[in-house]
């Protein structure tokens, strides 16, 4: 039952990742997927090995990493925006061959 929101979140994340053109939106989609996975960790931990806490720890660990990663990504996006005033990935083709 706990898996349903996780599944919905993951589906939204994938859909958003593939379709959105704005980098911020893509980043948000990415975070959605990540969080859905985190939920899964917690859920499965509880279902399968209630007496152990590895899933919980892993989730916490993932949240911390995700925060750092998001910070880096946002920094990149902001810098790109400063240079080219644009965060649309279809327009950002300067580095392409």
């Amino acid at each position: 039952m706990y898996l349903v929101p996780s599944l919905v979140m993951f589906g939204c994340g994938v859909f958003g990742f593939i379709t959105r053109k704005n980098m911020i939106a893509i980043l948000i989609s990415l975070e959605l997927m990540l969080n859905s996975v985190d939920i899964n960790f917690v859920v499965f931990n509880r279902f399968l090995y209630p007496e152990q806490t590895e899933g919980m720890f892993f989730t916490l660990f993932a949240i911390a990493i995700a925060a750092a990663e998001t910070a880096v990504a946002i920094a990149l996006i902001i810098n790109v925006y400063r240079v080219v005033k644009n965060v649309d990935i279809n327009q950002l083709t300067k580095l392409k061959f």
Binding site: F17, I18, T19
Partner: protein, 655 residues
Amino acid sequence: MPLSYTILVIAIPLLMFLFLGLAGVKMGKKLTGVLGVCAMGVTTVIAYAVALTYFFGTGDGQIVDGVRQQLVLNDWTWLKFSENLVVKLGVLLDPISAMMLIVITTVSFMVHLYSLGYMSDHHGKPEKGFQRYYAFLALFTFSMLGLVVSTNIFQMFIFFEMVGVSSYLLIGFYYTSPAAVHASKKAFIVTRLADLFFLIGIMVLSFYTSTFDFKALMANPTNALASAQGATFMGCSVMAWALTCIFIGGAGKSAMYPLHIWLPDAMEGPTPVSALIHAATMVVAGVYLIARMFPLYVLEQGAMDIICVVGAFTAFYAAAIACVQSDIKRALAFSTISQIAFMMTSLAVSTADGALIEIHEGYGLGYMASMFHLFTHAMFKALLFLCAGAIIHAVHSNENSDMHGLHKFMPITSIAFLIGCLAIAGIPPFAGFWSKDEILVACYAKGMGWGLWMSMVAGLTAFYMFRIYFLIFFWKKHEIHTEHAPADQPWTMTLPLIILAAISIVAGFVPAGELVTWDGAHLHTQLNWSVAGASVLIALVGIGLAFKLYYKENELPEKMKNALPNLWEAAYRRFYMDELYQFITHKVIFQNISKPIAWFDRHIIDGTMNLLGDVTNSASYAIRRLQSGSIQGYVFVYLVGALLIAAVTMICVMI
């Protein structure tokens, strides 16, 4: 070996070439000239010593049973093709090579001396490139001497190439003039084409006989021919083909029709060079070649007939053209062609009756006459050319319309030229009479038709030579074009004229029959008075005609020209042979072979290679879309792929 110093005759010019070629630029011009002349003088003396020792000496093994032997003096292995075919460089002395040593060194020495004057301006200042000129002369002399003393046919080929190159260099001596460059190129390429056949001939001959060596070949010509028994190509025996090919090689150098076209153009070179190379020595190399291989040719009648026909035709053809040329050097060049053709014909009228032992009139005589004529012709033709050079040097033109009436201004030259003309026309007692008479006798022995034909050409010879003579020295009063009045030239130029004129007078009395025969034995000849009388008569008619037409300015020549304008024009244009060659080389070879091949190479062969490259490139471009760099695209593809695999796995599991 008593004659081992013969090698010096060849070595000195070679060393002179290397020395003058390398150090000449650093030395004074005069010095190089004098040095060249001195070296050539020494060579001449040695050559005379060699020849006289050979002809009159009785040293060990020189004469056996009254037959003069062939002596092989040096033989150095140059290159071994295989066990049998070994190319050697050596010195072979026999009657004809000894005679040629005399001819070449004499004329070469005269030309060296003469060039001191000719290659300088009127103040005696040597021209630009004087050192180079003497170096090339030495190179040519070396090559020509090497040619005549060849011990084997391959050495002959080597020196054929060498004389070809020296001739190329000397014709193109005035390399800033496009005409000279063109002429030198033409001379080289035409003779190269002939040499190609020569080479093929040697390949065939040496393959079947397994030797290059003249002595081995000629010692037993019947065996040599028999070694190719049964081998035929297109219905003829391969030996006939080989000998014909070798003849073509000789014909190229000796300017036989239709390979004669280079010789008239070669007159672009300095006149002394024309005298040396294109009148006296190199152009007779072909005749010499046939004479060298005479025993083989005699046995191969088919090849002999071809030579005979070509020779007889060329003799007439060239004489006819010589009658209308206005450039005196060209006229002399055609005269040379005609005279060489005489020698060829004379060689070729010899016939053998089965075995070689049988000697009848005609056989052996033709050979002797040919060599004798070669000797006398070299002398008087060199004389004529050097006279022409003196005239050209005086009036700065080759056209006879710029000359006329020079007799008063240049008496010595005029008399020398007259002697040359009398000699070539065959008036006794001048040199040409004796040798030409022998040739005619040999021709009559072959058949009445041959004799009459050659007699007619002899008459024509007298006519055109005196036409030139009268047009240069008489016709009308000379108009002085340049600031200098023409006059006899300095002694360096006049002395050779006098010496050669003297030789032209007396050379006929050399007992050629005793010295120069094909087998080294004596050949007793006597003047055939009926032939001699007839030929003198016909020569006198020719001279008389020329006198009537050209001694004093008159309308007759013009009238004759107008009577047959087409014929005259055709003869003047040398019967359009040059145009034909031009057409073949430019239109056919360049336009229709080389250009298409080059196009084919660029567009088809290279195109295919480029096509391969382009196909690879465009294929890469085509599949490049897949690597778009868009993460979203990748994710989508990944997702679809993952789902598909999952679906397939599920289906598999379920089933």
